[in-house]
């Protein structure tokens, strides 16, 4: 346990960082107020502990006791980006240490009615539009990390798709953290507004450049999907193993909107992936699909909070986990069906493969149903690679390693196949293949013989 002095020291560092942010960045009064309120909430609430039901399996003490400084601006050469670039990406915004890098970004030829820019620029140019939406959806009261992000809002992506406009190219958002001497943090804030009957696809991709230093990426994305809108959101976490990555996707769905959230967790030491869709209009459909692949001592936590707030909506959750070494996975699937949300059809499935004796998964469904005419199902499985299947493949001439890779890929592919065909899915599929190959060819990672992080899980 941290002593009272330590806690004070740590809070002091957050206060210093906050003061610095408020003073440095030119911001309209409403934004300063939004930040200040959020910071007050954060101070009030403090970091969650494992006594908190929502954080039972994930200990954030390593984040709480680290004095993170806001990451300083850094220069990245265009050639260093090549390794991260998705094939066929036409629209890409790049953020280096939390700041929009216009020289590295390209928006191609956007159709009329589509705005893709940095949030900072939009706040400067159209503050009234941003004010209307920013911070209206993400829940600061429930989650200290959302409050923290809001307190530090400076930049991120802003996407606006006008009514009836279909954007068929995915928008790739690349967030890079560079290696620094001390512990650094960024709080990317994204606002995506897809007006009625529009279509948009967004890929958030978190990566690290250079060596491993302690970084905290604490991102919040608010995605507002209007009536009959189709939106696909992808989250890809592939930072190095010293990284702390917290992300919250808050989806607000209008009538008959069809939204999909796809998560792919590959990297990061301690990762928390929050997905919180609110089906606020009748007839909405939401797909919450994810894949997490853990090795070494990674901790990958997926916290789903699906809120049915209107009748005749459907939600489907599918999360697959593959855990090796001493990694620890969490799947927490909370479904809340409000009293008005009759004829809700909610389904949740979490399947896990444990590849080693020391890998661990905690899976927990949580259903809160206040309506009386609903269909809610949930199921979870935990297993190992089936010996039968492995022998069958080997008996046809495939090596054990190849056979294992095929079986793992097949398991992972279930999630990939739920994604819409195109550049985003191709990008995800390539990363999954590479990562599985990496897992197979780096057994020392799997056994935990290498220490990948300098903090311990229990505190």
């Amino acid at each position: 346990m941290a002593t009272a002095t330590e806690q004070r020291t740590s809070l002091q560092s957050w206060l210093d960082a906050f003061t610095e942010t408020q003073e440095n960045a030119a911001a309209p009064a409403w934004l300063k107020k939004l930040r200040e309120d959020a910071f007050a909430r954060f101070c009030d609430k403090g970091f969650p502990t494992t006594r908190d039901e929502d954080w039972r399996f994930t200990n954030v003490a390593p984040v709480a006791r680290t004095a993170f400084c806001p990451a300083a601006p850094a220069k990245i050469a265009k050639k260093d980006l090549a390794q991260f670039a998705p094939d066929g990406a036409k629209i890409q915004l790049v953020f280096v240490n939390g700041r929009y890098a216009s020289d590295l970004s390209s928006t191609g030829n956007l159709p009329k009615g589509v705005t893709v820019s940095s949030l900072r620029d939009q706040i400067a140019q159209h503050p009234e539009t941003i004010e209307k939406h920013l911070g209206r959806y993400a829940d600061q009261d429930r989650d200290a990390f959302v409050a923290l992000n809001t307190a530090f809002i400076t930049d991120g992506a802003y996407v606006h798709v006008a009514r009836g406009v279909v954007l068929d190219q995915p928008i790739f958002l690349l967030y890079l953290s560079t290696q620094e001497k001390g512990a650094t943090m960024t709080h990317p804030r994204n606002l995506i507004i897809a007006e009625d009957q529009s279509q948009v696809s967004i890929v958030e991709d978190y990566v690290s450049v250079g060596g491993e230093s302690a970084v905290l990426s604490n991102a919040v994305t608010e995605l507002i999907a209007g009536e009959s809108t189709t939106a696909h959101h992808y989250l890809i976490e592939r930072e190095h193993l010293q990284a702390f990555n917290f992300s919250t996707l808050r989806i607000q769905q209008g009538r008959s909107a069809n939204v999909a959230s796809h998560s792919l967790l590959l990297g990061g030491g301690l990762v928390r992936n929050n997905v919180h869709p609110v089906l606020a209009g009748e007839g909405g459909e939401c797909l919450i699909n994810g894949l997490f692949l853990g090795t070494g001592r990674q901790h990958l936590d997926n916290y789903m909070h699906v809120e049915h707030a209107s009748p005749h909506c459907g939600s489907r959750q599918f999360y697959n986990g593959i855990l090796d070494g001493q990694s620890h996975g969490v799947f927490h699937g909370r479904i809340v069906v409000h009293k008005v949300a009759q004829k809700t059809d909610a389904k949740q499935t979490n399947r896990n493969l444990l590849l080693s004796d020391d890998a661990q998964i905690d899976t927990k469904p949580q259903l809160e149903i206040y309506a009386d005419d609903v269909k809610c199902t949930h199921g979870a499985t935990i297993g190992q690679i089936e010996e039968n299947a492995l022998f069958y493949l080997r008996s046809r001439g495939l090596s054990e390693a190849e056979a294992r890779k095929l079986l793992l890929m097949a398991f992972a592919e279930e999630c990939v196949e739920r994604m819409h065909e195109g550049a985003a899915r191709d990008h995800v599929e390539k990363l999954v293949r590479e990562h599985l190959l990496f897992m197979e060819t780096h057994p020392q990672q799997a056994t935990g013989a290498v220490t990948e992080r300098n903090w311990s899980e229990t505190d």
């Binding site: 022998f391 069958y392 008996s395 046809r396 495939l398 090596s399 097949a410 279930e414």
Partner: protein, 258 residues
């Protein structure tokens, strides 16, 4: 030199001895049938030949083409030319049939120092084998055996066999659960693979299959031992008198196949 030579083979599964001293010699070009009641050890013998490691060999030896088969991993045995058509083919969701077949073929080609086959070369060959087994190519777009009927699974086994062209084909109760049409198709596929360079070991409970795949030798396996060996007429005799008949009789040495 014989293609397959099994000498005094003892096999234990979970501490229980299943095979209690098997001797069997199979030459290239020959078809041997292993018959026996349930639990006699037929499937164990088939799985040991495919090198399943759950089966522990406590005594004896198996040589395949002069090499020690017991030293081989399953994939090595496969690449050397041993093929087991499974009694219960495994369903594997997420692995495409066609992709899997080409990967397996290429793994074997690579082992033998041959060039890997690209999709362009593979497809005509694959189509030809599909026709041989009268299989719908729509099945091939699906996952490996997933949602296949019993008959489709068995045909898929023979399809793999036809494509991989092994030197020793081991068929484990390939006839079980097949209707007469499917049986004819499967047998036709198997017969098309009969050749002077290739041997077959056909494990079956019933004589029915042997009407279509006519063996050169029949061996009767009872309680982990070969109690009787003979020509194809032995199968008919068995069908008539039942396995009880062989058990009552004094076991005779199994040497006819040599």
């Amino acid at each position: 030199m014989s293609l397959l030579e099994i000498k005094n083979l003892h096999v234990t599964v979970n501490g229980q001895e299943i095979l209690k001293g098997i001797d069997l010699t199979v030459n290239a070009g020959e078809v041997h049938s292993i018959m026996g009641p349930n639990g006699s050890g037929k499937s164990t013998l088939a799985q040991v030949l495919a090198r399943r490691d759950a089966y522990q060999v406590t005594e004896g030896s198996i040589t395949f083409d002069g090499k020690d088969l017991l030293e081989m991993k399953p994939e090595e045995a496969a690449c050397e030319g041993v093929f087991l058509a499974f009694q219960y083919p495994v369903e594997i969701p997420g692995i495409g049939n066609t992709y899997f077949l080409r990967s397996a073929l290429n793994a074997q080609r690579k082992y033998r120092g041959q060039d890997e086959m690209d999709a362009m070369d593979f497809l005509p060959l694959f189509r030809e084998k599909l026709r041989l087994l009268e299989m719908d190519d729509k099945l091939m777009n699906r996952s490996l055996n997933e949602g296949f009927s019993g008959g489709e699974k068995k045909r898929n086994e023979i399809l793999q066999m036809a494509l991989l062209e092994p030197r020793l084909c081991v068929l484990d109760e390939t006839d079980s659960g097949l209707d007469i049409d499917a049986l004819r198709i499967v047998a036709n596929g198997v017969n098309s693979l009969r050749s002077p360079e290739r041997a077959m070991v056909v494990v079956t409970h019933y004589q029915r299959l042997l009407n279509y795949i006519v063996p050169d030798f029949v061996h009767v396996l009872v309680d982990g031992r070969i109690v009787r060996s003979g020509g194809k007429e032995l199968a008919l005799e068995l069908e008539e008198k039942g396995y009880g008949w062989t058990e009552k009789d004094a076991p005779q040495p199994a040497g006819v196949g040599r």
